[in-house]
Amino acid sequence: MESWKENRNVFWTFAAPGTFWLLAFFIIPLGFLFFMSFGEKAVIDGQVSITEIDISGTLSNYLRAFDPVFLKIIWKSIWVSALATALCLATAYPIAFGICFAPPKWKPLLLLLVILPFWINLLIRTYALIAVFRKQGYVNSVLGWVGLGPFDMLNNDFAVITGLVYVYMPFMVLPLYATIERLDRSFLEASLDLGASQFQTFMKVTVPLTMPGIISGIILVFIPCLGSFLTPDLLGGTDSQMIGNVIERQFKSANDWPFGAALSFLLMYATFGALALRWLFSRNSKGVDV
């Protein structure tokens, strides 16, 4: 038997299952979609086929995506996702900070509370949000006691953004927690000792040194927000649909796979752009890396 010390190729054996998985369930299907995005519905015997697709190399799908109707939806998806991400960051930073500075015996419990929503299906959680926000929901009944409302809190952008913040919060808290936890406290003490106020210390030392965590969190929240379709579908109104809903519709009710594929790829390119931005930031940052 050959020793792994002499024949390093044996390590490829370990890589095989992962490689197979990625190939069979990611690269190949993605390749299909890529080709499909340059195709159109086949015409058989003068009739547009329901199932057959002709890969003709056309760019019409991509051109169609730049139709003002879709551009508007893409633009809306971006600002809704950006706002949701910003709210996530604003809420998650204090939470992550609080967990890091909590007594050690409380930390596991607090982290568990952050992860706990993952144990429940997303669909059920979203329906639960409907119960909270609807006209006769919990929020409105509480507001009713003090003589306010009822307000329309469902089927609008507010509901979508709230839903997205709620769903993706843990993805922001966890990378932030990881960086803040590893941040040497003596940096903060040194800043205070040198005469900086708590606020100055936060802005000039804590935030720059935890920037890699902030950027990871932003990426982890912004990308899935951009592609989300369940939350805007259930919580949003007719005008709050996002690009994810449009894509979903192409593959299902509209039965236009080539156009759905083109939109998917455009969304993916936007994501690559965001990742490139992260790379640019992290190259210049000297903080704690994640």
């Binding site: 040497d184 003596s186 940096f187 003490e189 040194a190 800043s191 205070l192 000792d193 040198l194 005469g195 900086a196 106020s197 100055q200 000039k204 030392v205 720059p208 040194l209 940052s285 000297k286 903080g287």
Partner: protein, 362 residues
């Protein structure tokens, strides 16, 4: 007499786990002193330093700096600056930005900052590295940054937490001299925390020896070494031979006592008859002879050489006496040939003058 710059009054610190880190300490530090807090790890010296800086709050007691009670003053408002053990030089700023940080956040005018930073960098000889980032620097250079960053603030008191412990031996010697020089030029009170007695002895003008949260003795280095107050101080500062003895007679200031391995000896002390004392004597005060010394006045004993350790400039000889008494003797290796002049297993006489004996009653 001038007012003390730092005054510590009945300060205690109890941590949440019930650990008493600092136990009712009181002492004053004078203007312009190079003061050392010396003790083994866990003796509360760092906690005390952090309480002076304001990063830790005393459970009880009062800390005055420049005559003002600091109880309600947060660390960023205190006239103290600290050089951290890990240096805590900000990794996302250049050397220049690090040094300027403390001035910038307190709103010093830009021209003034520029001048002070240049001066500070000059002081620690880092002018040529102003644009560097800390991750491109050695530990010694980072420490200079931390030092400059604290000194440009012109604090009344500079606090240094184990400043030399992370440096290698050669660099440590240089930095030790550098710190002494800086303290003399800037004229700021330095308080240094260290567990290294050599560091404290060679740099400090006064030393507080701490153990288990309490101050054992505060004195000048010479005083601490030659007149330690108790066994802990004698043992912690330098090497010492401790010989247990019982006082058997007293006449005025002279006592006779029965010492382990020595028999009946006469010494000068004010101890009570019957009390247990320890005779402490430093290894370099002992002499080794091949024949019995003639004088009756001196303390002497015969023993066998058990071990000789050669250190170049000196040799450390261990002599085994009667009743299980072991004595360490430092011998200067004065000539190139022959070393310490004794060999393992040899029978020798050890003797010393009675005035070199320190009588310890606690």
């Amino acid at each position: 007499m001038t007012e003390p710059i730092v005054s510590i009054r009945n300060v205690s610190k109890k941590f949440s786990g019930g650990v008493i880190a600092v136990d009712n300490i009181s002492f004053d530090i004078d203007q312009n002193e190079f003061f050392a807090l010396l003790g083994p790890s866990g003796c509360g010296k760092t906690t005390l330093l952090r309480m002076i800086s304001g990063l830790e709050t005393p459970t009880s007691g009062q800390i005055m700096i420049g005559g003002e009670d600091m109880a309600l003053t947060p660390p960023n408002k205190r006239p103290t600056n600290m050089v951290f053990q890990s240096y805590a030089v900000f990794p996302h700023m250049t050397v220049e930005q690090n040094v300027a940080y403390g001035l910038k956040v307190t709103g010093v005018a830009p021209d003034e900052i520029k001048r002070l930073v240049a001066e500070g960098l000059e002081m620690v000889k880092l002018t040529h590295l102003a644009e560097r980032r800390p991750d491109q620097m050695s530990g010694g250079q980072r420490q200079r940054v931390a030092l400059a960053r604290a000194l440009v603030k012109r604090p009344k008191v500079l606090l240094l937490d184990e400043p030399l412990s992370a440096l290698d031996a050669k660099l440590r010697d240089d930095m030790r001299m550098e710190l002494t020089r800086l303290q003399e030029t800037v004229g700021i009170t330095f308080i240094i925390v260290t567990h290294d007695q050599d560091e404290a002895l060679s740099m400090a003008s006064r030393i507080a020896v701490m153990e288990k949260g309490a101050v054992q003795q505060i004195a000048t280095p010479v005083e601490l070494y030659e007149h330690p107050k108790n066994r802990f101080v004698a043992d912690f500062i330098g090497k010492v031979n401790l010989i247990d003895a019982t006082v058997t007679g007293q006449k005025g200031k002279a006592i006779t006592c029965d010492a382990k391995g020595l028999g009946k000896v006469e010494l000068t002390s004010a101890s009570q008859v019957g009390s247990a004392i320890a005779i402490a004597v430093r290894p370099e005060k002992l002499k080794i002879g091949k024949t019995e010394p003639k004088s009756d006045r001196i303390l002497k004993l015969q023993g066998k050489v058990r071990d000789v350790a050669y250190y170049g400039d000196t040799s450390h000889v261990v002599i085994e006496g009667k009743d299980g008494l072991d004595l360490s003797v430092n011998v200067q290796n004065e000539s190139r040939e022959g070393g310490s002049g004794v060999e393992r297993g040899q029978k020798v006489w050890v003797h010393w003058a009675p005035e070199d004996s320190i009588v310890l009653t606690e």
